[in-house]
């Protein structure tokens, strides 16, 4: 048995979000301060939060702060509202603005965060793609042309274009298991975790890990 210390819990939508954020925190020297868990997307958030309230880490006050994150996708305001509604339904408190910390009656604080940052649309892959683009701009000459060509052929944007673009790069893994794998990409694509694309998220993690 080890002595537990208070930590901040960061809830992520899915496995890829969890891995990217955990790696970013680690590169920012925040190992041990933040705990990342995935809640399975918006449709499962309420049930997850209710279960979280029954968990030991919540009841014994190991998690002094709980940050719930999600992607803005195409609509930042809708994403903010969905998090606000879920938090209110489960904890009976209002987090009006992402990044605002609200006291819970059971102890501890809760907040929300919408990726890619205040009033931004996009998803965690947007940040990754921006960072990769900044480091290897020459790759994107071909890739952007490819995406433009597809759009013209289909007559509409590819679904989740950013994710599609990122996966086009990632899909070059050496084995079948590695393809379409964020873990493979993080391990092998030499992401620049100091890229300005991650600045707001990195700053957030530093602020909440104290």
């Amino acid at each position: 048995m080890k002595i537990r210390t208070p930590k901040t819990l960061v809830l992520c939508e899915g496995k890829d979000d969890e891995l990217v954020m955990q790696t970013l925190a680690s590169h920012s020297g925040l190992d041990g301060h933040l705990v990342f868990l995935q809640y399975g997307g918006e449709s499962k958030l309420r049930e997850y939060l209710k279960t979280l309230m029954a968990r030991s880490g919540f009841q014994n006050r190991e998690y002094t702060k709980i940050l719930i994150t999600r992607d803005a996708d195409q609509n930042y305001d809708a994403a903010v509202q969905s998090l606000k509604d879920a938090v209110h339904e489960v904890f009976s408190v209002n987090v009006v603005t992402p990044g605002e910390w609200v006291e819970l009656s059971t102890g501890g604080k809760i907040s929300t965060w919408v990726i890619c940052g205040p009033n931004q649309t996009g998803m965690i892959e947007t940040l990754c793609l921006d960072a990769v683009r900044a480091k290897n701009p020459e790759q994107f000459t071909c890739l952007d042309s490819f995406m433009d060509c597809l759009e013209a052929q289909w007559g509409h944007k590819p679904h989740e274009k950013v994710r599609f673009t990122l996966w086009t790069i990632i899909a070059q893994g050496k084995t079948a298991q590695d393809r379409l794998s964020i873990p493979y990409a993080i391990k092998n694509l030499d992401f620049n975790w100091d890229d300005p694309a991650y600045a707001s998220l990195r700053q957030l993690f530093q602020d909440i890990s104290g």
Partner: protein, 329 residues
């Protein structure tokens, strides 16, 4: 059935409250958080005179035989020596225990109907306890981790099975489904050359063997059903219910037990350390319309280690926990 249980200044627990209890209540939590104290509080609340006097050694090993050890058990019922009173409060009645500081404990019981029944629990200078004016409000059965005398278990079986083929068939089926698929039949017998009657087991191998040779899970499960059918308790306490059970049989064990508890109108409080046991109980209970299963967890707060907090949760939280592989013990 008990639906709420609140403990104040009782053993290591300053104040905990469990609400919305179910027919099946699995008590979980880390080491030394007070799981056994919950069972002990239920013995104080519902136990008969023998169960009360034997309480110091029911769930715990006394460090030494003798006066000090017994006396210290009763003194330790109080969390804080400066507060001379503990309370166990439930919707079926409550107990107030008071250290009179004269080597004497005074217990008073207040029934839920408001009629007070005084009980005096006095421990003598030799450490033994005498109880006056006492009548147990409920029939309670207790299975601690200590193995009961096999002759006593066999005698219980003799009271219910041989002259009641339905009971006999039911117990054999329950044991066959969850513990020993080879089981053909059980017999209460005293073979020539032996001194006591025991339950013997037919595994189809030509020779019946005493149930004591069958392993802990078989003996314990036999005891559980003998207690339920013979003693007809309203409340059943089982310490470390997973003991001896192989993971593969746990779901069937729970299915059988839950059906019998419902059928015989028994409420179960059991402790466990096993995640497999918690998950098996969930799988067994998830489709039962009466929603019988509750998990009662105690946690020590990490910002104030002296404080223990209580949480009650049910199948919805457990379903999400299993889906996301979350630890709920």
């Amino acid at each position: 059935m008990i639906s709420t249980l609140e403990l104040k200044q009782f053993r290591g627990l300053e104040h905990v409250k469990f609400e919305n209890l179910g027919r099946v209540n699995l008590i979980v939590g880390g080491n030394n958080v007070g799981k056994t104290s919950i069972l002990e509080s239920l013995v104080l609340l519902c136990g008969n005179m023998n169960q009360l006097t034997e309480l110091p050694t029911t769930f715990r090993e006394l460090p030494q035989k003798g006066d000090d050890a017994l006396a210290s058990f009763w003194k330790l019922l109080l969390k804080n020596e400066r507060i001379y009173e503990f309370r166990i409060i439930s919707d079926i009645g409550s107990i107030e225990g008071c250290d009179t500081a004269l080597g004497q404990w005074a217990f008073s019981r207040l029934r839920s109907d408001g009629n007070s029944l005084e009980i005096s629990l006095i421990f003598e200078s030799n450490g033994t306890v005498s109880i006056k004016n006492y009548k147990a409000p409920f029939h309670l059965s207790i299975l601690s981790t200590k193995q009961k005398d096999p002759a006593v278990i066999s005698e219980l079986y003799n009271r219910i099975a041989p002259l009641n083929p339905d009971n006999e068939t039911k117990i054999e089926e329950l044991l066959r489904n969850s513990i020993e698929p080879r089981l053909r039949r059980l017999r209460y017998a005293r073979p020539e050359g032996t001194k006591t009657h025991l339950v013997y087991v037919d595994l189809g191998e030509g020779k019946m063997i005493p149930f004591t040779q069958m392993g802990q899970a078989f003996a314990r499960t036999l005891q559980v059903y003998c207690e339920i059918f013979a003693q007809r308790p309203k409340i059943l306490l089982i310490d470390e219910i997973e003991n001896g059970l192989y993971y593969e049989g746990m779901e069937d064990y729970w299915k059988g037990l839950m059906a019998v508890l419902e059928d015989q109108d028994v409420q179960l409080f059991a402790t466990t350390h096993s995640r497999e046991c918690m998950e098996a109980a969930y799988r067994a209970a998830k489709d039962i319309p009466s929603d019988p299963l509750r998990y009662l967890r105690l946690d020590r707060r990490i910002d104030d280690a002296a404080k223990i907090v209580a949480t009650t949760f049910g199948k919805a939280e457990m379903a999400t926990a299993i889906e996301f592989n979350l630890e709920m013990r």
